[in-house]
Amino acid sequence: MITQTDTSTSYTTPGIAGMVSDWSADRQAFDVPWGKLMMWVFLLSDTFIFSVFLTGYMTVRLSATEPWPNPSEVFALTIAGHHLPLILIAIMTFALITSSGTMAMAVNFAYRGDKRLTVILIALTALLGASFVGMQAFEWSKLIFEEGVRPWGNPMGAAQFGSTFFMITGFHGLHVTAGVIYLSIVARKVARGDYEGKGYAIVEIAGLYWHFVDLVWVFIFAFFYLW
């Protein structure tokens, strides 16, 4: 007998027919934990925020009559006598991708019930996130104190460069910082055994947030640093 609470039999058919019956049937439309659905809704709203920021950046860059500062040169560093374009940003990108990988593994091991590895992997993710924020702080101070970039102007060209840079990377950095705190709390709760009774969906939900932060960076890296 099929009951409403029995989620294991709620699945009907894949594809369009399944979607239509999911929406029209008198039961839950999404076969996911409510927390996960709420996280997805939040991430969708966050997608709009970052999209609007990046679209705003596109608009002011398109309409700027002064030359746009070349990000490849602005973010170049000289390491051991070698002039390397964008090198810090590349390292930051790799740090964030590595952290996304460790987070994916953490979710996997959480569902496998390996508490120790889960805690280690989440802690590693948070640590990589913290190092990303550290590198960003270095990048910002170099830009502010050495290059003289301000939200209202800079010596290299279009004034809009500073305002969009600080707004977009600042908002992303804020997300990474919040993520590091969020992950630290989840790691502690996993270690304490808080989720043993109710399952490890919470680790997957935290993972969704973290992957989203990495996802946003993919777009910032392409549109702001490489374009």
């Binding site: 979607m19 679209t55 596109m58 991708i97 993919v218």
Partner: protein, 106 residues
């Protein structure tokens, strides 16, 4: 068993492969800048690597590939509004650029 009770469980191998792929794609996009690729080839490569990376993160790491169509539509249909915004603002940006040249350039 359904996803609600067991969560998204997949072999570790697929995560490792996607992880490696993301590293390779990031390296490629960095090399676009390193070798000073310019013009349309640059923008095509940047966008291609960006969408590939984003796609793998969303599909595999965020498990959307295994979610139901009902959830996928909730996530992706609203994004069409952003596409409209980008198109409108591109027109607007070009217009502002042209009028600035017309009225503020000697």
């Amino acid at each position: 068993m359904s996803d609600a009770t067991t969560g998204q469980q997949h072999p570790i191998g697929i995560y490792l492969k996607v992880w490696l792929l993301l590293f390779v794609l990031s390296t490629f996009s960095y090399l676009v800048d390193f070798f000073h690729v310019q013009g349309y080839l640059r923008w095509t490569l940047i966008l291609a690597f960006m969408f590939l990376k984003a796609g793998f993160i969303v599909a595999i790491f965020m498990h959307v590939a295994w979610e139901r169509l009902a959830l996928k539509y909730v996530l992706f249909l609203p994004l069409s509004a952003i596409a409209v915004l980008i198109a409108l603002m591109a027109i607007e940006g070009d217009y502002t650029f042209l009028t600035r040249h017309l009225f503020f350039d000697p």
